[in-house]
């Protein structure tokens, strides 16, 4: 046993040192290669920036990866007509073809660069490559491909996209909301269909609600109110429903917001107070004034903010609380009024 410990330790340490020596040799070689690529990049940059009509013959001898990466970098740096010209130039240099090939690379990093790059070229073949990337073994790359497809001129149907991505319960990435936002702008009906589809996981429906809320689409208000009124008090969904109602800012949310202000859940009361302020729900003023004495700071803060958004009726209640309220409520009212430069 004692000998085994000695032998194994020597073997491990010796192997590590040998591997490290090999890595150092590889590093020397790769540094030499990288220096060549950097030199090529330095040669290429002025050619591309001088004008998008640089003849391809000037690019002889510059390795393809340098051309690909530099054109992508330049496209991301500019906007408008200049960007269009660089995209056309990249097409002429065969960048999309190379990116399409790169989507089949073993390296995840290369596949990710390819998918993000293809988002810049809205053509049939690039879309086809992105569609294939929707089946990538890596979640992140699938989502990047979906975002790229969503930002194109002819996006895939949302229901098909959701099915292909196999979004599951607990898949609560903010990037999902970002993806749905692309659709919420030009195809709100498709996002609304997700919200109302009971077969979909709750987290996906919540992401769809939050995406729609950003657009301020009133049509969804009755459905969210209904969901909010029946949501469990201690779940994560009630605050998100109330938050969405606040974003939309429609008075039809009244019933759910008033119920939310009386909820036993702190996050729900915070979201309801925010919504009451944004909707300017005057009848919530008394409830909000009561919340100035809530045990949680966030509730007091959001209630004070909401009262100030209600205008004079809210300010009057803040002044009254500043004079007659309990210690916590008084502090909230006095400080918030002072912070906004409103006299007592």
């Amino acid at each position: 046993m004692l000998h085994l410990i000695w032998d194994v330790s020597l073997l491990f340490a010796g192997t590590a040192l040998v591997v490290m020596t090999i890595l150092v040799v590889l590093r020397v070689a790769s540094t030499w290669h990288r220096d060549r690529l950097l030199a090529a990049r330095r040669r290429l940059a002025p050619l591309l920036m001088a004008g998008a009509n640089t003849p391809e013959t000037n690019l002889n001898g510059i390795p393809d990866p340098v051309v690909t990466h530099l054109t992508l970098d330049l496209i991301q740096l500019v906007r408008g007509d200049e960007r269009t010209r660089f995209v056309e130039k990249a097409r002429a240099l065969g960048v999309p073809e190379r990116l399409r090939r790169q989507t089949r690379s073993f390296s995840r990093r290369r596949r990710m660069i390819a998918v993000q790059g293809l988002a810049l070229f809205d053509d049939a073949m690039s879309r086809e490559a992105l569609m294939k990337a929707l089946a990538d073994r890596d979640d992140d790359i699938r989502l990047a491909a979906a975002l790229a497809l969503a930002s194109g001129d002819d996006p895939l149907g949302l229901d098909e996209l959701v099915a292909r991505l196999a979004l599951r319960e607990g898949h609560s990435s903010l990037l999902t909301i970002s993806l749905f936002r692309h659709y919420a702008d030009h195809a709100p009906d498709e996002v609304q269909a997700l919200v109302l589809d009971p077969a979909l996981p709750l987290s996906i429906r919540l992401a769809a609600i939050e995406a729609l809320a950003v657009t301020g689409d009133y049509r969804l208000v009755p459905a969210i109110v209904e969901l909010g009124l029946h949501a469990p008090n201690d779940g994560e969904e009630l605050p998100r429903y109330l938050h969405a109602l606040g974003r939309i800012g429609h008075p039809a949310a009244r019933e759910a917001v008033l119920a939310g202000l009386a909820s036993s859940s702190m996050p729900a009361r915070v979201a309801a107070a925010g919504a009451a302020g944004r909707i300017a729900l005057l009848e919530s003023a008394d409830l909000l004034a009561d919340l100035l004495d809530a045990p949680e700071w966030w509730v007091r803060f959001r209630a004070a903010e909401a009262l100030l958004l209600l205008g004079e009726p809210g300010v009057a209640r803040m002044r009254k609380t500043a004079k007659d309220g309990g210690e916590q409520a008084r502090e909230a009212a006095v400080t918030m009024l002072a912070e906004r430069g409103i006299s007592l």
């Binding site: 004692l2 340490a13 150092v24 991301q76 995840r108 990435s173 903010l174 700071w297």
Partner: protein, 472 residues
């Protein structure tokens, strides 16, 4: 020479076996961590450029308050704040907390940014020394200044967290230099898993020897000082192997106070940083584990290798020794405060793996290793144990030590490649070998000193004199 009784041989063998077994368990833990770290590095999200990250995250990234405690920083505070204000992140504010500085830190900041006293309604959920004033700069809406009575770093961070109004808070040391896109990269777990993620730690690297300008590291270079070089290897091992491996196992026990991102509500829930320990950063993470486990809530505390912050490492034995003794004391204080979690099934893998690792590596590790140095060679010289025992002891301490350090460097080179030159790799490999002969033993003696201070209930931080970054 009179023959020793048989029991002395048996006792010597038991003592030696115990020392070797403890070392083997440590090595085993490190190898497991290395394996998990390799898997985590392989599975980490594909690296994206800063501009690609901005395109994807700009609309959805949650707002962050960066809390920067400052105590007697009048010479460097403006450079530090300017660098923080120039970070690439869509929505953030910088809360500088003047922790009762005795120099003119407060006035320097007020004058430079034209700050004026303001009222701001803020939380009082976490206790801290009284706030004397709040200041904002009309020209710099992202900047906020809190002036409070002195209470130490933990106390200052608590004040900043109370004043923050964002869902996430980033705590840093006053002398930490953040890479411009560090926040953008560190926030990723909060974007990928917004409901469960409560804390994220990033990598800290040593800036000694680097070219620094305007609060930015312009050129990464290795330090020339041997002690700082050894710490480069130590930091790589601590972050790339230990923290990444433990994070992958979901048993991360520390997020360095020099750079960490936390969900504000979760920190408030556990009462913020504890001011009565020198290991407040480790203690906070343990408190978060405890609270989440007690409430049976799913959660994630994550280390991400990409976001990089830079810090200055001590270059003299005195200061380094004090720092290591203090770290040891911090670990022991945290262990004592939460010892009921150790091997407690209620805390699952934290109780067994997380605390098990703390117990083996931090609690008994230094004492057993120092006992080995003191006992095993003399026992061999006295003929009480055979040469094979001595060889096994040497194998566990020195040869496996070389393996662990070099393997971490291999991981760095294969997966991250952040060392700029091939000769840096050679230098660090040599250091990884050399540190086992002398430095490792010294470090263990410092840690035993930390044990002694802990037993004697020594309080305070001891001197931490900084040389300052090498500016171009």
């Amino acid at each position: 020479m009179t023959e020793l009784p048989a029991w002395t041989f048996r006792a010597a063998e038991i003592v030696t076996w115990f020392v070797i077994a403890c070392g083997l368990v440590q090595v085993f833990l490190y190898v497991i961590q290395l394996a998990f770290a390799a898997v985590a590095l392989h599975r980490r999200p594909a690296f994206s450029s800063t501009s690609a990250l901005w395109d994807r995250f700009a609309d959805i990234a949650p707002s962050i308050a960066i809390v920067a405690p400052a105590y007697n920083e009048e010479l460097t505070i403006i450079e530090s704040v300017d660098a923080l204000l120039a970070l690439h992140y869509p929505d953030f504010e910088v809360i500088v907390v003047n922790d009762g500085s005795k120099d003119s830190t407060l006035q320097v900041v007020i004058d430079h940014y034209g700050m004026v006293p303001v009222t701001r309604y803020h939380d009082r959920a976490i206790a801290h020394q009284p706030i004397r004033g709040l200041y904002a700069a009309p020209e710099r809406p992202r900047l906020f200044l809190v002036d409070k009575e002195n209470g130490g770093k933990a106390d200052a961070m608590n004040a900043g967290i109370n004043v923050a109004r964002t869902p996430l808070v980033c705590v840093i040391d006053a002398d930490t230099l953040l890479e411009p896109d560090a926040l953008m990269r560190a926030v990723r777990p909060f974007i990928d898993d917004p409901l469960r993620t409560v804390a994220v730690g990033g990598t800290i690297r040593i800036a000694n020897g680097c070219r620094v300008e305007g609060g930015r590291v312009l050129e990464a270079r290795l330090p020339r000082n041997f002690l700082a070089l050894v710490q480069v290897v130590e930091y790589l091992r601590a972050f790339l192997m230990a923290r990444l491996g433990l994070s992958e196992m979901q048993t991360l026990m520390i997020i360095s106070g020099a750079f960490g991102l936390f969900r504000r509500n979760s920190v408030i829930d556990v009462g913020g940083f504890s001011a009565d320990t020198v290991g407040e950063d480790m203690e906070l993470v343990v408190k978060l584990h405890r609270r989440m486990r007690d409430q049976k809530r799913p959660y994630r505390i994550v280390y991400v290798p990409e976001p990089v912050s830079w810090t200055e490492a001590p270059e003299t034995l005195d200061i380094l020794g004090n720092q290591r003794a203090r770290w040891q004391r911090g670990s022991l204080e945290t262990y004592r405060t939460h010892k009921d979690m150790f091997l407690n099934p209620r805390y699952g893998r934290i109780g067994f793996l997380g605390f098990g690792q703390v117990w083996i590596v931090d609690v008994i590790g230094p004492i057993v290793e120092v006992a080995g140095y003191i006992l095993v060679p003399p026992l061999w010289l006295l003929g009480l144990v055979s040469f094979d025992y001595l060889l096994a002891f040497v194998a566990v301490i020195f040869t496996f030590g070389i393996f662990i350090s070099v393997a971490t460097l291999i991981l760095e080179e294969v997966q991250l490649r952040r060392l700029p030159r091939a000769r840096d790799l050679v230098t660090l490999t040599l250091v990884a070998v050399l540190e086992n002969f002398g430095y490792r033993q010294l470090n263990n003696f410092w840690r035993v000193r930390g044990w002694w201070q802990f037993v004697r209930k020594k309080q305070g931080w001891g001197p931490m004199v900084r040389k300052g970054f090498q500016r171009s």
